[in-house]
């Protein structure tokens, strides 16, 4: 009974995270299209050193030219980004959010299966396999150079492109760890299923 309650609680928590991820995904799409129509509302939107999208209330206005930008903190302002960079950045974030959403969704399904307190069956192994493929996909996407930001400044009507990059190599450590962990879990569940079948067929 206690275990069941814990599983139900965890399931609700996962649903909550799924809701947050859903809202985040929608927000990313809204930010892109809304920023095209009303860029003045996104003056405080910057890309942080961790490649995160944050609203910095201390920013009142965007540098108008390269010299002005050079004399400030040299932040990556969302409005200064070239359109292709914007799309690339938001798309990478959106892909991550969708990936995490599906991983959480599959974990939620896994927990639902666990309510019967029977873990070792084909469905759970398939779920772990799917999580493994999503993680592998996200890892491969992270390897692509998405964190190269190109900003456009205008001088005498001519565009002046400035590229800046934030290197974040933490994923090279974490993602393989997650992948190995899920892979090990899959092997354990596969062996568990084999043993269960053997046990079921022992008369």
């Amino acid at each position: 009974m206690k275990t069941e309650r814990k599983i139900i609680l965890s399931s609700h928590f996962l649903k909550f995270i799924m809701a947050i991820l859903f809202v985040t995904g929608i927000s990313l799409v809204v930010i892109y299209f809304h920023s095209l129509n009303s860029p003045e509302k996104y003056t405080s939107l910057i890309i942080s050193k961790n490649n995160g999208l944050i609203f910095d209330s201390s920013i009142k206005e965007i540098p108008k030219n390269y010299d002005e930008w050079k004399n400030t903190k040299q932040l990556i302002h969302f409005n200064l980004l070239e359109n292709f960079t914007k799309v690339r950045f938001l798309l990478s974030k959106f892909t991550n959010v969708v990936g995490y959403f599906f991983i959480i969704f599959l974990f939620h399904k896994f927990l639902k299966n666990a309510l019967t307190l029977q873990f070792f069956f084909e469905s759970n192994i398939k779920i772990l396999n799917k999580i493994l493929y999503i993680l592998l996909g996200l890892f491969l996407l992270k390897l692509l150079p998405f964190n190269l930001y190109t900003m456009v400044f205008f001088k005498n009507g001519l565009p002046h492109y400035v590229s800046k990059s934030h290197m974040d190599l933490n994923f090279l450590f974490y993602y393989p760890l997650y992948i190995i962990f899920i892979y090990l879990l899959k092997i354990v569940f596969k062996r568990g299923q084999e043993l269960k079948t053997e046990n079921d067929l022992t008369i």
Binding site: T197, L201, T202, I203
Partner: protein
């Protein structure tokens, strides 16, 4: 399969029905069917003992080894 289960033959010899045997030895008819069809991976000594007792036979009367 190398091990053949001759439970059908013994049941016919003793003129006993599967359901009856299942009730005597205390297993479900589904499990007895698994045993009869040769799908079983293993058999417990306790089950074998109960079958031998119910059918008044030896384990060799029920289980037989045949080379593939």
């Amino acid at each position: 399969m190398a091990i053949i289960v001759n439970l059908d033959v013994m049941l016919a010899k003793r003129k006993m029905r599967s359901k009856e045997l299942a009730e005597i030895i205390g297993i479900t008819t589904a499990n007895l069917s698994i045993l009869k069809s040769g799908k079983a991976k293993a058999i417990r000594f306790s089950t074998l003992e109960a079958i031998c007792k119910a059918l008044d036979c030896q384990p060799s009367d029920i289980l037989e080894y045949q080379e593939d």
